[in-house]
């Protein structure tokens, strides 16, 4: 057993190193792309020069100087400012500085965007929105995951029945995205029935009592949550049902049935257990996915999540913010992949044995 333990550690270290290299490559590519291969530098330089000239022009102290003199002063300030911001270095070298900062989570300051408190710190901008996104989309994802699993399992055991056929027939309803259902839900429950809010996260002005505040947030979550649950419901259940159906026709399931294994145990030990690795993978990946928010749903429901911020940052070429997202996301994904690799070994002996090699 000692040998396999050593093998396991070696396996984990190897995985961590490989995954980290992949993260580095991904972050570097993002730096190149978000900076448009260095072109964003040119935009910034142009803006800087413009700014300096405007300032000089607006300054009465310099209004008597001849234009050539003024230009010289402007050039001087410009050079100095370039040096101060590090822009005098070629982009190729700076790209690696960016990468080092990104990888050490030194996310720096945004170019244009600010947090709600007015801060330019990328870390603050992202951290401020993250809880809202997690609150809504991770909840939606957890509910969906559980619903699909339980109902899918139920349907797979009754495949061919009326209820099963109903789910199959309704599966195409999931082609319509969640936000589209959201619009209808708003129309019905907010505009027509007036029982739920249109959007946002809190009433204006927000209630001060903590319990009332929580209830108020929950109330605001009902419609966006429902829209995502409705949109994914039938296809999700249908998908899981088919997945379980494939695995419940395995010979070993039949054999276990013949052995007299009771139905409950058959489901857990012979259908669910062998299929855990792909289920866990699906779970982990949709969990990460849920952290990135959803641009359109956030827009429809005016939900202050991460998706909206990411969208705005991309539109405004705010590279530090884009990079901040990417690097946090890449780290989360990498950590999940490594954790998954370890988890697989725990649930599936076929994979555990591989560690030893």
């Amino acid at each position: 057993m000692a040998g396999s333990k050593k093998g396991f550690i070696k396996f984990v270290v190897k995985r961590v190193v490989t995954v980290y290299i992949i993260v580095m490559v991904a972050v570097y590519l993002t730096i190149i792309i978000a900076n448009m291969g260095g072109y964003v530098d040119e935009i910034m330089k142009g803006q800087l020069m413009l700014q300096i000239r405007m300032q000089l022009k607006g300054n009465p102290e310099y209004s008597t100087l001849p234009p050539a003199e003024l230009e010289k002063i402007a050039q001087g300030i410009y050079e100095e400012e370039l040096k101060r911001r590090g822009l005098d270095q070629p982009f190729f070298i700076r790209s690696f500085v960016y990468m080092k900062d990104a990888l050490t989570l030194d996310l720096g300051r945004a170019l244009y965007m600010t947090s709600e408190g007015g801060s330019r710190l990328v870390k603050l901008i992202i951290l401020e929105r993250l809880p809202y996104t997690v609150m809504l989309f991770t909840t939606a994802m957890l509910i969906n995951f559980t619903l699909h699993l339980v109902i899918g399992l139920y349907l797979s055991r009754r495949h061919g029945s009326k209820i099963d056929k109903l789910f199959i027939a309704l599966a195409p309803t999931s082609i319509i995205p969640g936000w589209f259902y959201g619009i209808f839900l708003i129309l019905i429950f907010a505009a027509y029935l007036r029982v739920l809010p249109y959007g946002g996260i809190l009433d204006v002005p927000p209630p001060t009592d903590p319990i009332a505040r929580t209830l108020n947030i929950l109330e605001h979550m009902v419609l966006p949550l429902s829209s995502w649950i409705i949109a994914a419901f039938f296809l999700g259940c249908y998908g899981r049902r088919t997945f379980f159906l494939i695995f419940s026709t395995e010979d070993y399931v039949e054999a276990a049935k013949a052995k007299g294994v009771p139905s409950r145990r058959l489901t857990t030990q012979y259908i669910l257990r062998p299929t855990l690795p792909p289920i866990i993978t699906g779970f982990a990946l949709s969990l990460i996915g849920s952290w990135s928010g959803a641009i359109i749903t956030e827009t429809v429901f005016n939900w202050p999540g991460l998706g909206l911020i990411a969208y705005q940052a991309i539109g405004a070429f705010d590279t530090p913010v884009i990079l901040g997202f990417t690097v946090i996301y890449a780290y989360l994904l990498a950590a999940t992949v490594v954790i998954l690799d370890i988890l697989y070994g725990l649930v599936d002996p076929r994979i555990k044995v591989m560690y030893g090699r």
Binding site: K259, G260, V261, Q269
Partner: protein, 319 residues
């Protein structure tokens, strides 16, 4: 006359499909005495596996008709409800070795646990004790006890087959259904497994229902032979009688198609394929492929003709 252990009478199993009703098992009867082996032979798709599944009640969803009586130890087990059947019959009285043992083991449970599981389910035995018994069972089938801690993917094909047999033996059932137990194995391993099955049969006085498409292999184990064709048993005979001279034209053809070593025999084959079980041919179901077919065969369905000493043939040649 010795009382039979298992008596299957007028068993029917039809499946409903989009194209029509598949008569997979169409009115078959067979009986089995303690310690006796009946071999069920026939081509693929003639209802052998369906017969086995009908006996142990492992039915698909689309069952159209499931009727007849299966009398085990004087009790009609067809009358039991599903839960009783699971508790009283499955593995306690009848166990089964499935076609393709490679896939009959759950990949993520240890071999020993899977062998021991029926004891925990049916006899409420503790895990420790059940595993001990599993070790003994493994030794009986020629596998070292330490293998209880192995996972199925750590075993070879032949070993898996032995594990599956140990699993079938663990509750000491009276009857074991062997559904093509060796068809996925190479000939040497096949011979090993056949010898093991023979040894176990003698030692434990087991009764086998041995399902195979390989008529030569069936002679290794059979005391009695039932030849199936298109959902029916067309001939039923003692092994001594049958292998010397099969009576039904289909059985005769099957025998003639068995290859022999180093003799310059022209291998015979049966033209055509087994008929559709949805619209079986009228009259004798074998008549379109039968060299001896005459008028009557095309019109009337033959009934079983008794040739004496338990030898029955469904053929107009003998009527």
């Amino acid at each position: 006359m010795e009382q039979s252990l298992l008596d299957v009478r007028n068993l029917h199993l039809y499946y409903a499909t989009r194209k029509g009703v598949v008569k997979a098992v169409d009115d078959i009867s067979l009986s089995l005495k303690r310690g006796e082996t009946v071999a069920v032979v026939g081509e693929s798709g003639c209802g052998k596996t369906s017969t086995a599944r009908a006996i142990i009640r492992l039915l698909p969803r689309n069952v159209h008709l499931y009727r007849g009586s299966i009398i085990l130890d004087g009790k009609n087990i067809m009358e039991l409800d599903d839960e009783r059947f699971r508790k009283d019959v499955r593995w306690k009285k009848i166990s089964m070795v499935f076609q393709g043992a490679m896939n009959s083991l759950n990949p993520i449970l240890k071999a020993g646990y899977q062998v021991a599981e029926p004891l925990m389910i049916h006899e409420n035995m503790s895990k420790v004790e059940a595993l001990k018994r599993a070790g003994e069972a493994l030794r009986m089938v020629g596998i070292h006890e330490s293998f209880i801690d192995r996972y199925p993917f750590e075993l070879s094909g032949g070993m898996k087959q032995r594990v599956v047999i140990a699993m079938a033996l663990i509750t000491r059932p009276q009857i074991i259904i062997l559904d093509e137990p060796t068809s996925a194995l190479d000939v040497i391993t096949q011979a090993n497994i056949m010898n093991l099955l023979k040894k176990l049969k003698n030692e434990l006085e087991l009764s086998y229902i041995f399902i195979t498409h390989d008529i030569a292999l069936s002679s290794e184990l059979a005391d009695k032979v039932a030849v199936m064709y298109a959902g029916e048993i067309v001939e039923m005979a003692d092994a001594e009688t049958f292998y010397v001279k099969p009576s039904h034209p289909y059985a005769e053809k099957l025998m003639a198609s068995v290859p022999t070593l180093r003799t310059d025999k022209q291998l015979d084959f049966i033209p055509g394929a087994p008929p559709s079980l949805i619209y079986p041919p009228p009259g004798c179901r074998f008549h379109p492929r039968c060299p001896y077919a005459f008028d009557k065969c095309m019109k009337e369905r033959p009934t079983a003709v008794d040739l004496g000493s338990g030898h029955y043939v469904k053929c107009w040649l003998y009527a």
